[in-house]
């Protein structure tokens, strides 16, 4: 399946080059060079990565475009490929294919939901592994088709089809280390010494699809949606212990349970609160029943929600706060309530913008915090320095962030 995806990417790139050559027209290019560095306190490790992103588009006709990017990334991070090259998105977009119908086809990112982050309705594309507190979470492209039909200029219906599930690309070694840390102590008490973990993947090949109806009312926009697909994060499906020389091998089969998501999203005026924009996503999730070692991991339908408000004060202080029920790493009965706050302000007579992002678990009062400073060196160069820290014990909801506690730095050049 991986080979097929590489093949499709290669075909699209060749197609792109051919169209350019035949039509003797230039692409519109723009580039971004990003350096990211971090120092994690718990293991004293420095990580660095350098990413070059080349965005392009080409107007084949006035209603037909070829768009995409090319990402080249080198990193010394503990997990993952040290070098990556390939497009995150590459697609053809066609407008008025028939009257009022727009289509995008290829490797695409489809964003559903009104919330800026952690939307439970945004399910077609996997996010990079881990949780990000950044203002806009990047998504990984997936091969598929998105069609939007505009019934009128206020109402449209969107259909999305993804032929194969694209999963969050957790590095094997990361999963092995995680499972080892989880199960090794348990089996140790039963007299097994785990010395190796083997992973096998069972990726479903069913079609992923969704429908969404959106309407613009006078004071707010609202949409309802239906998604039929799968979880993109790995779930353990089966675990076997195989005795070996000098220890025990653990074989873990990984699966991706099916799920249906019925959604409601809205954004617009905050009723009765002047100066605020209200955004919200509500998801009713019907999961495939999933058992592991006799325990129900997924069973009954459950809700996830995020409701937030944006407000900018007279002194240009930006406030974005809200309520979350169910973080991206929570499912089923694990879902719990959180409050979050995102504050930033560009200081007068400077290009400095201090910011704070905090999430508080209402269940155990653990807190994840990021304090930082953005600095715009010039119109095309900007930098950011931040410190992430978590409060609460390591078993708490946001205690998982203790592994990421440390200093983060980035510098970005747009050209």
């Amino acid at each position: 399946m991986k080979f097929n995806r590489y093949l499709i990417s290669a075909v699209l790139i060749v197609l792109m080059v051919n169209i350019t050559c035949f039509q003797a027209m230039a692409f519109n290019f723009s580039q971004k060079l990003l350096y990211e560095g971090s120092y994690l306190e718990n293991n004293g490790k420095f990580s660095n990565s350098l990413t070059l992103t080349v965005d392009y588009f080409h107007d084949i006709t006035s209603d037909l475009f070829l768009e995409g990017d090319l990402v080249i990334r080198a990193t010394n991070e503990q997990y993952g490929d040290p070098f990556i090259i390939g497009p995150n998105e590459i697609y053809v977009s066609a407008y008025d294919v028939i009257d009022n119908l727009d289509i995008r086809a290829g490797k695409i990112v489809t964003r559903w939901g009104a919330a800026d982050m952690f939307s439970p309705l945004d399910n077609f594309n996997p996010a990079p592994p881990g949780i990000s507190f950044t203002k806009n979470q990047g998504k990984l492209g997936a091969f598929g088709v998105s069609a939007s039909y505009y019934i009128n200029y206020l109402t449209y219906i969107q259909a999305v089809l993804v032929p194969n599930l694209e999963v969050t690309p957790y590095p094997d070694q990361y999963l092995k280390d995680t499972y080892f840390a989880t199960y090794s102590p348990i089996y140790q008490t039963q007299g097994y010494t785990i010395n190796n973990i083997e992973l096998s993947y069972q990726v479903p090949e069913n079609i992923i699809w969704g429908l969404r109806l959106n309407h613009s009312f006078s004071s707010f926009d609202a949409g309802i949606s239906y998604y039929k697909g799968n979880y993109m994060d790995p779930f353990p499906a089966d675990l076997k212990l195989i005795p070996g020389n000098g220890g025990t091998n653990m074989e873990i089969k990984i699966g991706y349970p099916a799920r249906q998501v019925i959604g409601l999203e809205f954004q617009g005026d905050f009723p009765g609160v002047e100066g605020a924009t209200l955004r919200g996503d509500l998801a009713y999730i019907v999961p495939e029943k999933w058992e592991f070692q006799g325990e129900n991991i997924l069973d009954n339908p459950y809700f996830k929600a995020i409701v937030s408000a944006d407000y900018t004060t007279d002194t240009n202080l930006y406030l974005n706060g809200g309520f979350i029920y169910g973080m991206p790493f929570e499912r089923g009965e694990d879902c719990s309530p959180y409050l979050y706050l995102n504050v930033n302000k560009e200081l007068e007579k400077s290009n400095l913008e201090p910011f704070y992002i905090g999430i508080l678990s209402l269940k155990d009062l653990s807190i994840g915090n990021v304090v930082g400073l953005d600095y715009k060196i010039s119109e095309s160069v900007s930098t950011s320095f931040s410190y992430l820290f978590a409060l609460g014990d390591s078993e708490s909801k946001l205690g998982v962030l203790k592994d990421s506690q440390g200093l983060y730095f980035s510098i970005e050049w747009l050209f």
Partner: protein, 263 residues
């Protein structure tokens, strides 16, 4: 000879009296103009177009005089009820390229499309006072009609070159208590607008620094500067090209359009 001189003198006197009479009539007519009539004359001198497409350079000038340049493309359309619908996209620099604002009917609905988010974001009406993408224009400024027929108008003063009008919007949704308009007396176009906030503090000044007139005497502002007096920051817009009466498809001013890579 005498007769000829007398004839010439009579002709000159006739011309002088005629000119004086005409001038007197004109002055009298101008003196009698009310604020509403002055605004009507300004509106008459504005190009009456169903829509327009403008390409411009936007200069952001900070308190130290440092300039940042942005290229924009802007489409405007006057709706049946005189409300303005506007769509504006940044073409450069790279940091804002593709960012698109859609303001429908004087900002009744505002959408912002940022390519990084890959979806349109609706901006609540109550956020209209926020500045748009680092400029001195708020969302409200970009979609406001200072000459709204419903606003209360009064003639404050008049100099040799300008009428000075006071406009009181009386609109509870607006974040301005009044505007002072400086209207060019000879050519009837607004040269300057002063904005006063709800505390009656003069906060912004809009200056039309250059205008162009067509054959019919209709004017188009070609160079506009908005100064924010609170932080001494300025935004200047130099119009590079303007087209009128385009054959735009129905539904052009919609969230569908702002997601297109090319307008």
């Amino acid at each position: 000879m005498l007769n000829k001189n007398n004839s010439n003198l009579s002709f000159i006197i006739f011309i002088v009296i005629g000119l004086f009479f005409a001038l007197s009539l004109n002055i009298a007519a101008n003196q009698e103009l009310t604020a509403d009539e002055i605004i009507d004359r300004v509106k008459e001198n504005q190009a009456e177009r169903k829509n327009s497409k403008t390409q411009a350079e936007m200069l952001l000038i900070d308190q130290d005089g440092k300039e940042e340049s942005r290229e924009i493309i802007m489409f405007e359309q006057e709706e049946d009820d005189d409300k303005i619908t506007m769509l504006m996209r940044f073409l450069s620099p790279r940091s804002v390229e593709g960012v698109t604002l859609l303001s429908i009917e004087n900002g009744d609905k505002i959408y912002l499309y940022m390519p990084a988010y890959q979806k349109p974001r609706r901006i609540a009406g109550s956020s209209k006072q926020e500045n748009f993408m680092g400029t001195d224009f708020s969302y409200e400024d970009l979609s406001m009609d200072y000459q709204n027929d419903d606003y209360e108008k009064g003639l404050l003063d008049e100099t040799g070159e300008q009428y000075i009008l006071q406009i009181i919007p009386g609109d509870e949704d607006l974040s301005y208590s009044k505007f002072i308009l400086y209207v060019n007396k000879e050519q009837f176009y607004v040269e300057k607008v002063e904005f006063y906030d709800l505390d009656d503090t003069h906060t912004k000044t809009l200056e039309i620094q250059e205008v162009e007139f067509d054959e019919e005497g209709k004017f188009t502002p070609m160079k506009i500067q908005l100064s924010n007096l609170l932080d001494n920051h300025k935004t200047r817009m130099d119009i590079k090209e303007i087209e009128y009466d385009l054959d735009l498809p129905s539904g052009f001013f919609s969230i569908r359009t702002i997601q297109r890579p090319v307008l």
